[in-house]
């Protein structure tokens, strides 16, 4: 499976600011995804990060709030914009294995918004 790293691993941010989370994979992958895990909750897909085109957002998530970049096949960023305490969550990136079935997850970014 691919080795996935995320930066930062955790952060504490002030209301109204923005944070950009980076996801790096050690091999080229076609599909990359961003998930949110709110405290005590399950994972929810935010968007699919498409290389060379705009991300595909799931219902309830918009580009203005969660802009995503995917400049190449090994890297993606997720920005959480104009943060509020409700954005306090774990943000995880994942990649789809080459067989097109299994998703593997990064270690997550733990965000606390004050």
């Amino acid at each position: 499976s691919a080795v996935i790293s995320q930066k930062p691993s955790r952060d504490i941010c002030q209301r109204g600011t923005s944070l950009t989370i980076q996801c790096q994979v050690d091999s080229q992958v076609t599909m990359m995804f961003w998930y949110r895990q709110q405290p005590g909750q399950s994972l929810t897909l935010i968007a699919t990060a498409n290389q060379g085109s705009e991300a595909t957002y799931e219902s309830g998530f918009v580009i203005d709030k969660f802009p995503i970049s995917r400049p190449n096949l090994t890297f993606s960023t997720l920005t959480v914009s104009n943060m509020s305490p409700e954005d306090s969550s774990i943000y995880l990136c994942s990649v789809e294995a080459t067989e097109g079935e299994t998703q593997y997850f990064g270690p997550g970014t733990r965000l606390l918004v004050l």
């Binding site: 499976s1 996935i4 599909m31 995804f33 909750q41 399950s42 994972l43 929810t44 897909l45 699919t48 595909t56 799931e58 995880l92 994942s94 789809e96 079935e101 299994t102 998703q103 593997y104 997850f105 990064g106 270690p107 997550g108 733990r110």
Partner: protein
């Protein structure tokens, strides 16, 4: 819409005893089913999957899961629990055939497994 139910928020089991973590699902068409484990302050680790074939699938760390199509279930099992198995377990499903542009992997709410020494 696809969904996953993990009916138990917490499962307690004594070390050395067998464990079962329950999962039922709903999806259009044939399912792809997955189990992941999350240790404290860690990301999700893939344990095992059912795609097709044998209903009993084996995965990492001695875990296995049985796909039951008639009961739409995919329960996670281990013959002998270890204290180190204590973690949060997530079941996930997606349809084998994707709608155009949709790669939704739907997760259950998770079951906290505590193995008591």
């Amino acid at each position: 819409a696809q969904s996953v139910a993990q009916p138990e928020d917490q499962v307690n089991v004594a070390e050395g005893n067998p464990l079962t973590v329950k999962c039922t699902y709903s999806v259009s068409g044939n399912p792809y089913l997955f189990w992941y484990v999350q240790y404290p302050n860690r990301g999700l680790q893939f344990l095992l999957k059912y795609i097709t074939g044998d209903n009993l699938v084996k995965g990492s760390y001695g875990f296995e899961a049985e796909f039951n199509k008639s009961q739409t279930s995919f329960h996670l099992k281990k013959p002998s629990a270890l204290v180190s198995d204590s973690a949060l377990y997530f079941c996930a499903v997606r349809a084998s055939l994707r709608r155009a542009g949709s790669y939704q992997l739907t997760f259950g709410k998770g079951t906290k497994l505590s193995v008591i020494p």
